[in-house]
């Protein structure tokens, strides 16, 4: 199972992305609407990928990377572009292909 955390301040877009992710067998999505929510979820669950979506600043992304490093988590942090199905699957496949 591939666990993907969507970190996106725009709730309708986050929900759309989650729905698209869960269409794929063995992919499971969770949503965090802020950096704080993302950090809290990463403390209780191990994610393979954190997708950084709309409304999350570069500084917040860096803070998330830092907190994941402190936890020694292997979560790959990936910027998401487009807000829908267009680029989503390629972004995830590319992240999964990176060692």
């Amino acid at each position: 199972m591939t666990h993907i955390l969507i970190v996106c301040a725009n709730q309708p877009i986050a929900q759309t992305i989650a729905r698209l992710i869960e269409k794929i067998d063995n992919w499971k999505a969770a949503i965090a609407l802020s950096l704080l929510e993302a950090q809290q979820q990463c403390e209780i669950e191990v994610f393979d990928i954190a997708l950084i979506g709309a409304g999350i600043t570069d500084d917040e992304e860096q803070e998330l990377r830092l907190s994941l490093t402190k936890q020694k988590a292997k979560t790959k942090v990936v910027k998401h572009y487009g807000g829908g199905s267009g680029l989503l699957y390629a972004e995830i496949y590319q992240a999964l292909a990176k060692k």
């Binding site: 807000g83 680029l87 699957y89 496949y93 590319q94």
Partner: protein, 237 residues
């Protein structure tokens, strides 16, 4: 020395949803080719065919510069910013999706298909306030590059959040022109709509894509009467 890549029309990804037929020059939706993901900041080039009376229902976008260029027919646009507009052949539409926008695009003409290019460019700034614009482009000038997009609001064409310039061109057969890049580090992706070209000595035919970079200029010669789009984008962004 200039580097080049040729993507022939028959190597594009294809999707057939009945009401929508689309050819993808780069990985998009269900088409994934790790060797064909982007050309610099140019991420999506879809050659779309929408059946009469059909279209894309309301759906979201964020953090992307989305450019549509109708080739035939028209599309009715509605978005969450309050814009309602019809865009037709001879016009160009741009949306900076930024923090998020919902939109729909329908072909209102039940009797005729709409054909258009859907182009996505990575923005150089994330989380901008979403915006929409459309303008008429010069469809009469021949044998010149006609700028239809730039990074500057006060320059010709629409503008986007990226150091990119697009030009449309209609060349008579045997016409040769030199394209001068605007910025070091940029490359140009040429998409041929009709006819055939020679670019940097290589033959590029209808619906082929040809990328060229690590150069500050190059020659384009039309082998036949030709229409094409040149997209200059940063190779690193």
């Amino acid at each position: 020395m200039a580097q080049t890549v040729l993507h022939t029309a028959d190597t594009r990804g294809a999707a057939d949803h009945g009401w929508l037929k689309s050819f993808h020059s780069f990985s998009f939706a269900g088409y994934y080719n790790p060797d064909r993901v982007h050309f610099g900041a140019l991420r999506v080039l879809n050659d779309d065919f929408v059946t009469g009376g059909m279209g894309f229902g309301e759906h979201p976008h964020d953090n992307m510069e989305i450019i549509s260029i109708p080739l035939e027919g028209e599309l009715q646009h509605k978005d969450s910013l309050g814009n309602t507009a019809t865009i037709k052949s001879g016009e160009i539409q741009v949306m900076s999706a930024g923090t998020g926008v919902y939109h729909s695009e329908y072909n209102p003409d039940a009797a005729h298909p709409a054909k258009f290019l859907q182009i996505w460019v990575f923005p150089n700034k994330r989380n901008v306030t979403p915006r929409y614009d459309q303008i008429t482009i010069d469809a009469t000038t021949r044998n010149e590059f006609v700028q239809v997009l730039s990074p500057n609001a006060d320059d010709a064409g629409v503008w986007i959040y990226q150091v990119a310039w697009f030009n449309m061109a209609r060349f008579d057969g045997n016409t040769t022109k030199t394209y001068q890049l605007h910025k070091e580090g940029n490359g140009v992706y040429i998409f041929v709509l009709k006819g055939s070209l020679k670019v940097d000595g290589k033959e590029v035919n209808t619906r082929d894509g040809f990328g060229i970079w690590d150069t500050d200029q190059f020659e384009v010669t039309a082998g036949t009467d030709a229409e094409f789009l040149l997209m200059e984008v940063p190779m690193k962004f």
